[in-house]
Amino acid sequence: MSQTVNTKRAQREKSGPYGKLGHALNELDDRMGVAKGGRSFLDKIFPDHWSFMLGEIALYSFVVVLATGVFLTLYYVPSQALTTYTGSYLPLYGQRVTEAFASTVNLSFAVRAGLLMRQMHHWSCNIFIGAIVVHMGRVFFTGAFRKPRETNWVIGTTLLILAIVNGFLGYSLPDDLVSGTGIRIAYSIILSIPVVGTYVAFFLFGGNFPGTSILPRFFILHVLIIPLIILGLVGAHMVLLVRQKHTQFPGKGKTENNVVGTPMYPVFMAKTTGFMFVVAGATALLGAFAQINPIWQFGPYTASRISYAVQPDWYMGFLDGALRIFPSWSFHSFGHTIPLEVTIPAVIFPGILFNLVMAWPAIERKFTKDNEMHNLLDRPSNRPKRTSAGVAVAVLCSMLFIASSTDVIANFFHLSLNSVLWAMRILCIVMPVLAYPVTYRICREMQGFAGAGKRKTTNIVTRTAEGEYVATPAPVYVDDLAHEHELDALPVPTYVVDAEDAVPAGEGGVRRVPR
């Protein structure tokens, strides 16, 4: 008996003060050398700011999209072969439909939780792309893309493009009437590319529309090739993030050379894992209560049929809007046609837009001649030109997005389609042009306004026994104490107009810029 106790004690002593787990960790470290790197990973500091959550939404909705997508592949059949629908949805009973359409309707109605998974998949795709866009906005307006993080900006933009492409491919797979029309439009956009367009379209689709092999090819692109690239790039995005560490807003104790916040383990780990559940849960609730893409109502795709109110998912809206409002300027000459009414809004415009976005860090560096390392974030109002440019582009895209609903707007407000069309053409030009100076002005005003963007301290009003009211300022919020030196920590923006005339930080840490 005592023998056993002694052995156990001996074992416990051998494994050190951290018990069995400590022993296991030692064994692991002997073989893989994990202790040093693991410790620094657990101690990694994450800045506490709500805006850092936006990228997490993108990451976790990607997790949801992958998980639900795997479920869908178990039931979806990527085939254009015709079959007779004999499933449980009676309005379609006996119709000749493709295997792809039939299997999508079946996985929605005959597979348990299938509809929930399909709707979650579609919702999380929309959330994924939305979160990427908002996350990009955060990175852009706070200048987080500056040296040394330009590569991650380019990776992120590539991820946005891939996500949009993959979203479109997935949207096309059920082979329903609306998505089939979308593929037809995509084919015509490819055709519009000068010189090589016809060949690209024929090779991609295996012939003239509808081709012989769209669905199998879209399927393998959608479930394997593009997700694999996205996964690799997301990995690279994360590795660079860890290697370069987070940016942070200026504030008490925060410098270019440190990171202030909460440690990876256990605080951030608990919060971020919880947030993953929240994102997945919210997506499931959307999938439960908000119907999305009811393909059985649209019916199967037939090339000679079409429904009214044909609109794509939200992330393709700006392209659809551009196609709607662009004038019918086709170029015919020298025995060739360049369908400029398609090429400009659907090929050249997005080409310029995404290249501009990718190249922005380089463009800005060229203008500011700023080659320093930046780990502290900008307050958007302190970089009025960048902020105004970003707002102008965002306004343009929003206007184009609204323009993708010209028919719905005209119908809903009982307006003539012609007036709506012309209104949108004018707004798409005027609004971005207006947005720039207006944003610029607001930024400059905020620079000269003490405490802009800060919480106001409240007064506590007390009534004395005599009936007199006395107002005393409430104690400052503890969180605000941490931010109190925020403004004077900012570097003076070198390229703000009149920056050399700017008065250095004065009372209260506010730098006043002359108008």
């Binding site: 348990r112 979650m120 104790g253 440190n258 079409i306 009214y308 196609l323």
Partner: protein, 311 residues
């Protein structure tokens, strides 16, 4: 230690076990713990409910509400745990410069430029051969990878299956007779025998409209194309190839629902609104002896959207 000092960030490795930064952020941790426990319990109940709902094959919204609600509440509880019951911080971590030392940089560049570069510079011929080989491989590999994906376009986009004497049939394959359409009516027709094929549906689809002869402008050279008020136009929009599926009967406009191009039926289907750049190509019609509609030839122009080779 004043509250102000407690908010000064320190390095995680240097704090003592009783440091206030390692204490929970909540003022009343016991209460928070109870609230979180309740959140978790409700979450677990919902997840169990999901299992039960799945077992009895409940409707999708019940499945989603239990599954999503359960995950959501577990997440909220975990976030609250992290936010209120874990070390409140703040902590600080130093950044290490990403750049290596001058010596390491030079050694790295020297390895590439001197050791590697020297070898390649001295063997320019071999390098050239290797490059040429890889280049040729790239071109040759492009054939199986790209060329085999689809046929060459050749004349495909210039022609449809309509030819002299092709009968017009509806989607069920029935020929269209002189008396089938009332004035103002419209139907979609296909070349006989191709009504259920991909090409027949996607390329040859044609709108057949019967209009009265009043207010009708005959295009030059098309005097015989529309006998008895029967006019046939390609159903492919010249903008992006959507089927021009809507007919505004009073205004006699064909409307494409995708981007709202409108084509004037009484005037050769010239677009009078929207982004479509060209009229819908017209199919010349004739009657056979028994009064059934036939095409006189193919369309007068390539159908559908514009492309580079189109004249």
């Amino acid at each position: 230690m004043s509250e102000h000092e407690q908010r000064t960030p320190v390095q995680l490795s240097t704090v003592s076990a009783d440091d206030p930064r390692l204490q929970p952020a909540a003022r009343r941790p016991e209460l928070v713990e109870k609230v979180i426990a309740v959140t978790f319990l409700v979450g677990i109940a919902l997840i169990v409910g999901f299992g039960a709902a799945y077992w009895v094959n409940a409707t999708p919204w019940v499945l989603g509400a239990t599954f999503g609600g359960g995950l959501f509440l577990m997440g909220v509880g975990l976030i609250a745990w992290g936010k209120y019951l874990m070390p409140r911080g703040p902590f600080v971590e130093e950044r290490h410069t990403l750049a290596s030392s001058e010596v390491e940089r030079d050694a790295f560049a020297a390895a590439i430029v001197e050791r590697g570069g020297g070898v390649i510079k001295r063997r320019k011929f071999l390098g050239g051969l290797l490059g040429a080989g890889m280049g040729i491989f790239g071109v040759v590999a492009a054939f199986p990878l790209v060329r085999s994906l689809g046929p060459m376009p050749k004349g495909t986009l210039f022609h449809t299956d309509w030819a002299k004497g092709t009968y017009l049939v509806d989607i069920t394959g029935r020929r269209v007779h002189l008396e089938d359409l009332a004035i103002g009516s419209i139907m979609t027709v296909y070349p006989e025998g191709l009504e259920n094929t991909d090409n027949g549906q996607a390329v040859d689809q044609t709108v057949l409209i019967r209009i009265s002869n009043e207010n009708f402008v005959t295009q030059k050279g098309r005097e015989t194309w529309g006998p008895q008020g029967y006019l046939a136009y390609s159903k492919l929009c010249t903008h992006l190839g959507c089927p021009v599926g809507l007919y505004e009967q009073q205004l006699q406009l064909l409307v494409c629902p995708c981007h709202q191009s409108m084509f004037n039926v009484t005037n050769g289907c010239i677009p009078n609104f929207g982004p479509a750049p060209r009229p819908l190509p017209q199919l010349p019609l004739q009657f056979d002896a028994a009064g059934y509609l036939q095409s006189q030839s193919d369309f007068n122009q390539p159908v559908g959207p514009g492309f580079w080779e189109r004249a």
